[in-house]
């Protein structure tokens, strides 16, 4: 065997104890590069560490640069953090992409297929291990794609984990696919270990001891799918769209086992109307989409509001407008879901902050939809939908199914006169479903009277509009509450929703170390905003940084409109297509602090 080691720069250092580790794997899309991230995830799981990963892919099946970042820590983490400690690069483009993120003493494992790595691309104190992984896999194993597993073995050595653990992880991933898949991968590991020996690799990092209990690694999309099933959802309809397709796929794989159905519709318009049909028949129903699909679903949202049909709509935001950047992160559809549709009708908008929230708040959304008979949005974003994160195992015993004023064949007997849209104190009317004797209804998107018959009578119009809109206020008491973090006496505050939660918590730690104390209101109810949590927070700070991934500050605008205190609200915005890193928030805060007398508008920096 000839191993071509082109470079062996920098002496191998003694293993350095670290609190956490961040790795990036980059190469061409579609050749399995990102399976290394999956293997690393499993490896860290075995070590009892929390992980958070993020994938950067293009909207194409094969080719183009693709990378994945995975971070592992003994602490809770909900962001990729800052910097890269280990880079596995299958080409120079991967190094170019990562170079600004590389930490000073990082380790780079490089596939020198097309020649040695240009040293000037990487930090002076970094260690570079080069080998022709693809060629080796091709000649020794007759399959160039096994470069991924070969290099995973090398990474295992860099991380100082026992070879047996790397073998266990590869077995766990490929065993189910049979010996013909497993054996070549085991051979690839052996080759990788030999390469590591030849390169003289010793452990560079002393990984933290993980002592985590029952943790799971799951994406927000999958957690929503699971929450839907646990919460009694049985009918799902969707149309493939990045980054929400995983929900469709999850439910197509799992919902039938529970007697439900997940339908791939001909378009989003069909999808939402199908969900309305299932809801009409008494089945808990959901759709999920992203911005462009939400555009098409909008008329259906109004129908749910007007006809008073329970419906859950998941909006996984991506970079817009129009087709935008389909695989990229953004939070620019908040206005779209809060204000979507012509006319005025009630809706609720919930915003989970991590995968745990995604699970439990999908159950909340189903219960709220049934209880208040209206459309309920779950507003998440690309990072939350698709990034895998470690969270405590979901507790199914906490799941409650509450169906509100649903009337069945027994309870209809206690009703003398049944009117589907009966005006009540809380705006919610008794609801039957087809099949209930004597519970017949007319359900319609036309303006209607209590019977459900078309009506343009002005007195009826006022009464029935008020009845419907009353439900927004009534629902406030049941909306998921936000959480306040940080120093209660701090005069600087953060407000956000969704996946900015993780980076903000870390930014607060960095700021505190630099003597800047902050507090943080994470909101989970976007519409209606809850004055009980927002007003006291705003009253307690001089400045509230509203952090969101868009240009115009949509959440900031909504808070200013509904809660006031516009003078205290300062936007920290990003719309590059990737989520905030903690350091970016720190830098913005420090920058804004320096020129605080000029604040007030959108920060375009």
């Amino acid at each position: 065997m000839t191993i071509s080691v082109n470079e062996r720069e920098a002496a191998v250092q003694a293993a350095k104890p670290v609190d956490e580790i961040k790795l990036m794997v980059g190469g061409q899309g579609g050749d399995g590069t990102l399976t290394v991230v999956n293997l690393l995830g499993r490896l860290f799981k075995e070590l009892g560490l929390n992980t958070y990963d993020q994938r950067n892919v293009l909207s194409r099946i094969r080719g183009g640069h693709a990378d994945g970042v995975i971070r592992a820590s003994a602490r809770d983490i909900f962001s990729v953090g800052d910097g890269i400690d280990v880079l596995l690069a299958f080409d120079e483009e991967a190094v170019e992409t990562a170079k600004d993120l590389l930490s000073k003493e990082c380790v780079i494992v490089y596939d020198s297929l097309h020649g040695p790595l240009r040293r000037e691309l990487v930090p002076a104190n970094s260690t570079v291990y080069s080998a022709k992984f693809s060629d080796l896999a091709g000649t020794e194993l007759k399959n160039r794609l096994l470069k991924n597993t070969v290099s995973f073995a090398v990474l295992g050595r860099v991380l100082g984990v026992p070879d047996e653990l790397a073998i266990k992880v590869v077995r766990a991933r490929y065993e189910r696919r049979g010996q013909e898949v497993l054996q070549p991968n085991l051979d690839a590991l052996s080759l990788g270990f030999r390469v590591a020996d030849d390169l003289g690799i010793r452990a560079h990092f002393g990984l933290p001891k993980g002592a985590l209990g029952q943790r799971i690694q799951i994406s927000g999309d999958d957690a929503i799918g699971m929450g839907f099933i646990a919460g009694g959802g049985r009918f799902y309809a969707g149309y493939p769209i990045t980054p929400a397709s995983e929900i469709l796929e999850y439910l197509q794989a799992n919902l039938p086992k529970f007697g439900g159905a997940a339908i791939q519709a001909e378009d989003e318009i069909a999808a939402i109307n199908m969900a309305l049909g299932a809801s009409l028949a008494g089945v808990r129903a959901m759709v999920a989409t992203s911005g462009p699909g939400q555009d098409l679903m909008t008329e259906g949202v109004g129908q749910a509001g007007m006809a008073e049909l329970p419906l859950v709509i998941v909006e996984v935001q991506r970079s817009g407008p129009s087709t935008g950047m389909p695989t990229k992160h953004e939070q620019s559809d908040l206005n779209h879901v809060v204000f979507a549709g012509h006319g005025e009708f009630p809706r609720l908008v919930l915003a989970p902050a991590n995968a745990s929230d995604c699970f439990y708040m999908t159950v909340d959304a189903l219960n709220l939809a049934d209880k208040y008979q209206l459309p309920v949005f779950l507003l998440i974003d690309q990072a939350m939908g698709q990034n895998t994160q470690s969270v405590p195992e979901f507790d199914f015993s906490k799941v409650k199914v509450e169906r509100g004023k649903l009337v069945d064949a027994d309870s209809i007997r206690s009703i003398q006169v049944y009117k589907r849209y009966q005006i009540t104190d809380d705006g919610v009317s008794p609801r039957t479903v087809p099949g209930v004797p004597d519970g017949l209804f007319q359900v319609t998107g036309n303006e209607h009277n209590e019977w459900g018959f078309v009506s343009v009578n002005p007195l009826n119009r006022e009464a029935i509009v008020k009845k419907r809109m009353l439900k927004i206020d009534e629902a406030k008491k049941d909306m998921p509450k936000g959480t306040v973090f940080g120093d209660p006496s701090a005069e600087l505050g953060f407000i956000t929703y969704g996946s900015n939660y993780g980076p903000i918590l870390e930014a607060m730690e960095i700021l505190a170390k630099r003597g800047v104390n902050t507090k943080f209101l994470l909101i989970r109810s976007i519409f209606p905003l809850l004055e009980d949590e927002i007003l006291p927070f705003l009253e307690g700070v001089k400045t509230a940084y509203v952090v969101e991934c868009n240009l115009t500050g949509q959440l900031r605008g909504l808070i200013a409109k509904d809660m006031g205190h516009a003078d205290k609200l300062v936007g920290i915005n990003k719309y590059t297509g990737s989520p905030f890193r903690p350091s970016e928030i720190v830098n913005r805060v420090e920058g804004l602090q320096e020129r605080s007398q000029f604040l007030g508008g959108v920060d375009h920096s």
Binding site: Q214, I216, Q217, I218, D222, I229, A230, G232, R234, F235, A237, P256, K257, F258, G259, G260, A261, I263, A265, E266, I269, A270, A271, N273, M274, L276, G277, A278, L280, A281, G282, V283, R284, A285, Q303, A307, E393, F396, S397, V399, V401, R413, I415, Q416, V417, Y418, P434, G435, P437, D438, L440, F441, Q442, V443, T444, G445, N446, W451, G452, V454
Partner: protein
């Protein structure tokens, strides 16, 4: 006994073909003794889409063009229900055209009745996709819904009625309801129903309609010949009516539900599925 709504009087103009459809449908439902509380009628937007208000059944007024996806999901949610989707030609063949194709492709066991008059009556007479050339200046070739349905190999019941022939229409509706309620798939019934105000075609349609079932040699189970006969009659300026095609194939409920308990009747309380949840989560451990 609980009192519920009383059906209202139709909104249609005197002489509208839709009265004939309503009367025939009522008769067919009553002949077959289908319980009102197990019947859902979903109307599209347009004059005919109001029909659910005129019947003592569970009624739903869908969004314009969206009656088929809605009705299909009602059937999937609870296959024990009699599900009737009803709308006009604008609703079904223009704005809802995509759903029409996909409903034909999926074959859900619902009855789909289209009141076809070639015009948008409710918005005052614009030409629809089935408008004859020259109507309101349209130069576009009319859409032929029954030919389209015949051309799709997934369809199992295709009929065309004429609101001026109630005896035939009642027969078609009875057969259509029986087809759908025995879960054999979608019963598609296009009904020629003149708009007396904007496109009064009674006289010419009365002359042009041909009952294909009157010919003992017409084989409703032979798709190729049915297509040939229907196309031939259309090209000769005639309007073929009756049951045009009847076949067998998998219904959508069969494909999707595979005989499971209707979703609408399932116990969805979490305690009912504890072991199954454990399996769901194990993949992520």
């Amino acid at each position: 006994m609980t009192e519920y709504f009383k059906p209202v009087t139709p909104i249609w103009c005197p002489g509208c073909g839709d009265f004939g459809i309503l009367a025939s449908l009522k008769k067919a439902l009553s002949d077959l003794k289908i319980p009102p509380h197990e019947t859902v009628v979903l109307g599209g937007i347009g004059c005919f889409g109001h029909i659910h208000n005129d019947l003592a059944v569970y009624g739903y007024h869908a969004l314009h063009g969206r009656v088929l996806p809605t009705a299909m999901a009602v059937k999937l949610a609870n296959p024990r229900l009699t599900v009737i989707a009803a709308g006009g030609d604008g609703d079904g063949y223009a704005i809802g055209g995509n759903h029409f194709l996909h409903a034909l492709r999926r074959n859900p066991s619902i009855v789909y009745i289209v009141s076809n008059n070639g015009t948008y009556g409710l918005t005052k007479g614009q030409p629809s996709p089935t408008a004859q050339v020259g109507y309101e200046g349209t130069q576009e070739t009319p859409f032929e819904p029954v030919l389209t349905a015949l051309s799709m190999r997934s369809t199992t019941f295709i009929a065309r009625g004429f609101s001026g022939n109630q005896v035939q229409l009642q027969m078609i509706f009875r057969e259509a309801l029986q087809h759908a309620n025995s879960l054999r798939g979608m019963a598609f019934v296009d009904v020629l129903s003149p708009c007396v105000t904007y496109n009064d075609t009674y006289a010419e349609w009365r002359k042009a309609t041909v009952d294909v079932n009157a010919d003992a040699g017409y084989d409703v189970t032979n798709r190729t010949k049915a297509f040939q006969t229907v196309l031939g009659l259309l090209e000769a300026g005639k309007l073929p009516t009756g049951i045009l095609y009847r076949g067998s194939g998998k219904s959508y409920e069969e494909m999707v539900l595979q005989g499971k308990e209707p979703m609408a009747y399932q116990n969805i309380q979490p305690a009912a599925n504890v072991e199954m949840y454990r399996k769901l989560i194990s993949r992520y451990k």
